[in-house]
Subunit: 272 residues, 2 copies
Amino acid sequence: MGDIGVPTTIKAFEERLLEVSESLPKRLRQCADYVAANKDRIAVSTVAEMAEGAGVQPSAFMRFCQILGFSGFSEMQRLFRDSYVGGWPDYSTRLDHLREKAEGSPSALLAEFVEAGRASLENLLKTIEPHALEQAVKILARAQMIHIIGMRRSFPVASYMAYAFEKMNVPAMLHSAVGRLENRNAVRDGDALLAITFSPYTADTIDMVEAVSAHGLPVVAITDTIVSPLRKFPATILSVSEVDFGAFRSLSATLCLAITLAVAVGTERPEK
Amino acid sequence: MGDIGVPTTIKAFEERLLEVSESLPKRLRQCADYVAANKDRIAVSTVAEMAEGAGVQPSAFMRFCQILGFSGFSEMQRLFRDSYVGGWPDYSTRLDHLREKAEGSPSALLAEFVEAGRASLENLLKTIEPHALEQAVKILARAQMIHIIGMRRSFPVASYMAYAFEKMNVPAMLHSAVGRLENRNAVRDGDALLAITFSPYTADTIDMVEAVSAHGLPVVAITDTIVSPLRKFPATILSVSEVDFGAFRSLSATLCLAITLAVAVGTERPEK
DNA sequence: GCTAATTTGGAATATATGTTCTATTTTGCT
DNA sequence: AGCAAAATAGAACATATATTCCAAATTAGC
């Protein structure tokens, strides 16, 4: 046989499988065939299940794993499980460590945030529902005026969208709570609301969504996860789950979605 | 509480999660949030891993599963393993797919921005100078008050940093031009200025940098490229070159740097 | 500010699952 | 056909993981 190295990537795994499957006794060949046809099951099955699927004994499947270069089934499974979640380390605990130990230079911290941002972006692409996105664009493109609200952590996103809309000559209004002036009466028929809110959900934002949707106006919401209180309203929801780094998020994915939405609306909108 | 039935579909699971998450004590709520944001992990993780991710004890996560109507974690996991249909399109194939086949649609646009963001992040890591970053942290950590200025496109960054500093009890002041009130006299000895500006450089921001550095106060600047007009002043410069798509930039890299800077300052700063 | 009820953390326990071992069967060779 | 080598099945063992339990801490009500 060739190298004894453990496959560390799905690709390497496939190559090894192909390379080995020629010269395999009956039962082990069954394993190879079954695995080739059901690679995705490895991540969520037990040896017993895989063995049954292949029509062999667990011990046979075990030997099969070892021939592929792994120490056992668990090691092989880990490869598939890790590649499934795309390496999404637990940042919240890592930040705690950074804080406590105070070790790690700013550069190391930057590396962490870059990594978190990268993971968030990849995840965004995987989880966004194209249909919801299209619907959101349609709603906002039709609106006579887009009202934008986002407080605290969401404010940067709201303000960036306001900037982008302004640049593209799309009528939009950023509802910031400057001076506690609540310009709620600016919302009129034909308008739409774009609400951005993340846990912990600011009451003002929720209130505004409630008020606006009570008037029958359409609402588009950018929020996190599915437990958002916005689910109670008939809004078009775009959910982004940003990798959490302690109390902070880099907002990479959120801003990406935001700018996409803004540009799509700007281009779709009937001129003037 | 409502029904006691075991959720038998992901949809039912989500509904149950939403319905229950309102009235949940602290730790259980953490579980709910983490699960909502990481549903895909349930199929391939152990209770211990899920619990750690949520920042709780395994036993707490266990109770959470039971509140959702399952007998335990295993039963809940089975739901996700069974409904796991395999075929998880990995990031790169999904990206290609969206780019080509969905051309012109919002989803394709999203793919472009995600890719641009990813490239920007990678570039950020390569180009940032650790020494400059450390110096910036040092300057801001020593300042009695951090004055933040950033207009137009830079305003989201400025406001996010203001938010982050506030969260960490770091004295900071966001100089927005609300009502054209220019609070320049708020700047005092011992303070520092954090200026964020990108081409085309807003005059107000440059003016402020000039005024502040004329008083001998330290300035940290986040800007693009090396031809920034800020080079004329004795400021610590962190340059980010964001990959742009069309006329817009997703700001991914800039925000990443911003939040890094904020957290680094927050942790380095002497308490109180 | 005290008491009762709820919630939580951590260790103890039970169970499921992976892994190894060996007698038995099968295969390949002369 | 008879022998040696390889492969297999099934049981025995080891480990990892889920689950439960209870004392300590927290919260809510009075």
